[in-house]
């Protein structure tokens, strides 16, 4: 079946009118050359006049527009459609297929990025100079003090007790010395900033019933310092949030939250494992940190609220955490062999570090 076609050679902007034969394998040009259907790339299909325009994948340049006298219902157009509905643009399947393939590739790349990200993150952290990390940590802690209009608590005995606790827990392999401070705030928490700066909120010390409990928490924070997690967290913000929102726009925010939570939990798990290792090495019982978590767990709260808090928490799920500590104690600790992190007097001095500081 023959049809009129406009041929553009890609050299000049004029076109030539040809008579093209529609055959079972392709379009035959007057010269006898066949543009096989597999090599045709549909550029445009007009629903108005039925015309279809193709490129030939074998050539970089020319295109061919088939012009149908009777428009969309031309018998030649129907004949062409028999060989593939994609040829007339009447079926979207060809388009859909490629979009699915593209999406699959994007998803694979995203998954690879997700898997490789922790390694990439650590590699970036390893090249950041310690002086930068210390400066960044100072900025964070100073900002915190400004926010709470407070400063680090100091008292002679309290400082001595805190120093002893830090010395007891200090381990080899830290990129920078630990610098631990207590801030006068009732929040039951402790945080680690980059550069080895650890801030314990006084509320945590008040809530604790023994020095071992505080030692357990401090061992956990030392774990963060050991792995340089605060810096990793900073890179994490750059990595997930900025790259994510830049490439994915607003839709990426949801993914970023999910990935950040997952990543933060991994870091917390690592810090927990390191804390258990430190406590065991220093012969301090992990019972302290276990008691502390059990007591501060959401017992008084509604179960559903507790579950939801767990899901959106940056820390590992409470139950999971308690199980790990219990298992460690059962497997590695022998009753009566552990030592106390501080003496009774030292513990009392630490408890009063902010009271004496205020006086």
């Amino acid at each position: 079946m023959k049809v009129k076609a406009n041929y553009c050679d890609g050299i000049t902007a004029n076109f030539k009118v040809l008579e093209v034969s529609i055959g079972p394998s392709g379009l035959t040009l007057p010269s006898g050359e066949v543009w096989v259907y597999e090599k045709l790339k549909l550029i445009a299909s007009s629903k108005l006049d039925g015309s279809v325009t193709y490129n030939n994948k074998d050539y970089d340049g020319p295109n061919l527009t088939l012009v149908f006298d009777k428009g969309i219902d031309d018998p030649a157009r129907d004949y062409l459609k028999r060989f593939s509905s994609h040829l007339t643009g009447d079926s979207n399947w060809h388009f859909v297929r490629w979009q699915i393939v593209t999406t699959a590739v994007i998803l694979c790349l995203m998954f690879c990025f997700y898997l490789g990200y922790p390694y990439l993150n650590r590699a970036i952290v390893s090249v950041i100079p310690n002086s930068w990390a210390i400066k960044a940590g100072n900025l964070v802690v100073d900002g915190l003090y400004n926010e709470y209009s407070s400063n680090a608590c100091h008292s002679a005995d309290g400082d001595y007790a805190l120093e002893k606790l830090v010395e007891t827990l200090e381990i080899e392999g830290l990129s920078y010395p630990l610098r631990v401070e207590v801030v006068d705030h009732q929040q039951v928490n402790a945080l680690t900033a980059a550069g080895g700066r650890v801030v314990i909120f006084n509320g945590l010390i008040t809530k604790a019933t023994s020095a071992d409990e505080v030692a357990g928490v401090l061992a956990h924070e030392t774990g963060h310092v050991y792995y340089q997690h605060p810096l990793q967290g900073l890179i994490n913000v750059l990595g997930f949030s900025i790259v994510g929102s830049f490439l994915g726009g607003d839709a990426a925010s949801v993914a970023v939250v999910g990935l950040s939570l997952s990543y933060s939990r991994d870091l917390e798990r690592m810090a927990d494992e390191k804390a258990l290792e430190i406590l065991q090495d220093k012969k301090i019982s992990a019972q302290g940190i276990l008691d502390f978590f059990e007591r501060t767990d959401k017992k008084e709260k509604n179960e559903i609220v507790a579950e939801l808090e767990d899901i959106f928490s940056t820390h590992p799920l409470s139950k999971e955490r308690i199980n790990i500590f219990s298992k460690h104690i059962a497997e590695n600790e022998i009753k009566g062999t552990s030592i106390s992190a501080l003496s009774a007097e030292e513990w009392e001095s630490l408890q009063n570090i902010c009271n004496e500081s205020n006086e």
């Binding site: 406009n6 041929y7 553009c8 050679d9 890609g10 050299i11 000049t12 902007a13 004029n14 076109f15 030539k16 009118v17 040809l18 008579e19 040009l29 007057p30 010269s31 050359e33 543009w35 550029i43 445009a44 007009s46 629903k47 108005l48 006049d49 015309s51 325009t53 490129n55 030939n56 050539y59 340049g61 020319p62 295109n63 527009t65 979207n92 388009f95 859909v96 979009q99 593209t102 999406t103 994007i106 998803l107 995203m110 930068w132 400066k135 960044a136 900025l139 750059l238 900025i242 790259v243 994510g244 830049f246 490439l247 994915g248 726009g249 607003d250 839709a251 990426a252 949801v254 993914a255």
Partner: protein, 350 residues
């Protein structure tokens, strides 16, 4: 290259040139739905490919002398463009600002002030570079378009005219718009053929002055009415005043913009061919209002349809006077950049 010397007739048309948009909402819908679904699945990353799909469709449905345009860009090129700009420009800039602010906190305000002209410059560069990419990926009758690579010059122009606009309190807007438009259009090519544009701003000043004064009068009246109504707690008057201000400014700007577009496009020349654009203010107003409502009520999902409506309006109102000698137009020597529009992504310029 195939041999087509046999059995052919060479044609050099001698008819009125026409530009037509033949797309329909029903044809665009499946593409939009697919784009939306895949963008959600990939947490937004697919948007580069989605944008390309829409462009391919819009280009293909626009016909000049019955022949469709072709968009040859790919989603991968846009994605790579964004990645390159991020790692070569955004990330070093963020790190640089962070390091300087940390080590020299005194410099922080100076850095922030210095960033303003830099961003204005880069926005100009981004807009121009996007044209370089899009023109190089636009084909008609297998001939490529081109935008000459003069993005830095356009960036400087943007700074210069932004300062002028600010100093003149917006009064020199027609002059600035015409100068920017002339620069952009003068550097466009289709194959070996050149676009020329020498739009003068003088005819626009009267229209702009009327718009400017009308808006000032409206705002003054609005402030008087609303401040009185606030004192007396007369909420119906406050709401009425807001609605009146919105409607009146929309009408005034629609009138001005239709005149502006008519003037700008009518000053364009290609070879010896001139363009005429004759858009009625009411038609522009009607389309703008419907498009805004479409965007508002679909939370932006109707953006491709809105774009389609604009393209159709453009095609319906343009007239081409004169004959183009297509034999004289040969393939463009410019192949365009390898990747595109990363800076546009960085500044979210669409």
């Amino acid at each position: 290259m195939p041999n087509v010397s046999e059995g052919i007739s060479s044609v050099n048309e001698n008819t009125q040139h026409s530009i037509k948009y033949v797309g329909e909402a029903s044809m665009l819908l499946p593409i939009v739905i697919m784009n939306l679904f895949l963008t959600i699945v990939t947490f937004g990353i697919y948007r580069f490919w989605a944008k390309t799909n829409i462009r391919k469709y819009l280009w293909a449905q626009t016909q000049f002398d019955g022949e469709p345009f072709e968009y040859t860009g790919t989603g991968g090129e846009l994605f790579m463009g964004a990645i390159i700009v991020f790692f070569v420009f955004i990330l070093p800039l963020l790190i640089g600002i962070g390091v300087l602010s940390t080590n020299f906190p005194v410099l922080t305000p100076i850095i922030m002030i210095a960033l303003y002209p830099l961003f204005v410059f880069l926005i100009g560069v981004a807009i121009y570079r996007a044209q370089v990419y899009r023109m190089s990926r636009t084909k008609w009758r297998a001939i490529r378009g081109a935008q000459l690579p003069r993005s830095a010059a356009y960036g400087w122009l943007t700074i210069k005219y932004a300062v002028l606009y600010f100093i003149s309190l917006g009064l020199l807007m027609p002059y600035i718009t015409c100068k920017m438009w002339n620069f952009m259009m003068d550097n466009k090519r289709f194959g070996s053929a050149v676009f020329r544009c020498e739009v003068k701003s003088k005819p626009l000043f009267k229209i702009w002055l009327v718009t400017y004064v009308a808006v000032i009068v409206l705002l003054g009246g609005f402030i008087l009415v609303v401040s009185d109504a606030f004192i007396t707690q007369n909420f119906p008057v406050i709401i009425g005043a807001y609605i009146f201000l919105f409607v009146a400014t929309t009408v005034i700007f629609a009138w001005f913009q239709s005149k502006l577009y008519n003037h700008l496009i009518s000053g364009l020349k290609f070879q010896d061919v001139g363009f005429e654009f004759d858009l009625e203010a009411f038609e522009f107003l009607k389309l703008s209002v419907v498009n805004t409502l479409l965007l508002v009520f679909t939370l932006g999902l109707a953006a491709p349809f809105v774009l389609q409506r604009w393209v159709r309006l453009f095609c319906e109102n343009i007239t081409i006077n004169g004959q183009i000698n297509f034999d004289l137009i040969v393939q463009s020597p410019e192949s365009g950049p390898q990747f595109g529009e990363g800076l546009v992504e960085a500044f979210d310029l669409g």
